[in-house]
């Protein structure tokens, strides 16, 4: 069970799990050992995007470069392409996504994971990922920006 950093902006509270790294886009990567990482979206991304209607992840075995789209979330608001922040090969897709894509909303840091990636050697270190406090600052900036727009 991960611990969380939290920030409340207006009426919204966003959590950032402390046991993983983040891309500025809100993709989290959790080290599973052996060069494998589990990936998913942050609480901010799922709240900002709305209820997920369909979650489509590329097939296991797909080789991906850093920045390639590895998944798409179709929500009630948007179609959101998700770029993988590292290079690697997709080795596992969350089997729960087909029948229950809402798991991404309900538990983005747990059962709502999207895929497991076998990272290219050294790529996680090179990707310039953010630690949880740094990503929390990104969330605060992005949420404040959204509020200003409204």
């Amino acid at each position: 069970m991960p611990e969380f950093l939290q920030t409340t902006i207006d009426k919204f509270t966003f959590e950032v799990a402390t046991d993983r790294s983040y891309s500025p886009d809100g993709i989290w990567l959790q080290d599973l050992g052996g060069g494998r990482v589990r990936v998913g979206v942050s609480d901010f991304v799922q709240q900002h995007s709305g209820d997920v209607a369909f979650a489509t992840v590329k097939a296991a075995g797909t080789a991906l470069s850093a920045g390639d789209e590895f998944a798409e979330l179709e929500t009630v608001k948007v179609n959101l392409g998700l770029p993988l922040p590292i290079a690697g090969t997709l080795v596992e897709v969350n089997p729960a996504l087909d029948a229950s894509p809402e798991v991404v909303n309900h538990n983005p840091y747990g059962d709502g994971w999207l895929a497991v990636i076998q990272a290219a050697a050294g790529d996680v270190e090179r990707a310039g990922l953010l630690d949880p406090p740094a990503y929390l600052s990104v969330v605060q900036s992005q949420a404040a920006l959204e509020l200003d727009r409204q």
Binding site: G50, D51, A53, F54, V76, P101, E102, N105
Partner: protein, 144 residues
């Protein structure tokens, strides 16, 4: 029980400014104004939000169908909180998942797919209403 009391109360979410909320309201109008006007009564969720006693009494004394645009399920939760009996809880998102080609878009001006999705939701509700109102035994209709 009078025919008026037997009417099924239909409560769509308010979802103002939300595409799926608009689908839920369109579906409710379709059911209550067009498809089963004599069997249903439309109730605005805002009346339950405000705690209006007449509205609360309506959901307490009859059977209710709720239609929610998002997973917050405001309509279902408020009807339950008001002591109502929900005979069908419709989540528009779940219906859309079964009809992916009908992606709704727009709010004040709904796209054609959204209008069709509202029709599908309405038809599903009508099936429920008809099942509930169908006499359970052959002789029952004569005594209704």
């Amino acid at each position: 029980m009078s025919a008026e009391k037997q009417r099924i109360v239909v409560v769509p979410c308010s979802g103002i400014g939300k595409t799926f909320g608009s689908v839920s309201r369109d579906a409710a109008y379709e059911v209550c104004d067009e498809l089963r006007p004599d069997a249903t009564r439309l109730l605005a969720l805002s009346k339950l939000v405000l705690g209006e006693e007449e509205a609360r009494q309506q959901v307490r004394s009859g059977r209710t169908v709720t239609i929610d645009g998002c997973k917050l399920m405001c309509a279902a939760k408020l009807v339950a909180q008001s002591g109502g009996t929900i005979v069908r809880e419709v989540a528009v998102l779940d219906v859309y998942r079964r009809h992916r080609h009908l992606k709704p878009d727009g709010i004040a001006e709904m796209n054609e797919a959204g209008k069709q999705l509202a029709q599908v939701v309405a038809q599903e509700i009508v099936e429920t209403i008809d099942q509930i109102r169908a006499p359970s035994t052959p002789g029952e209709a004569d005594h209704a």
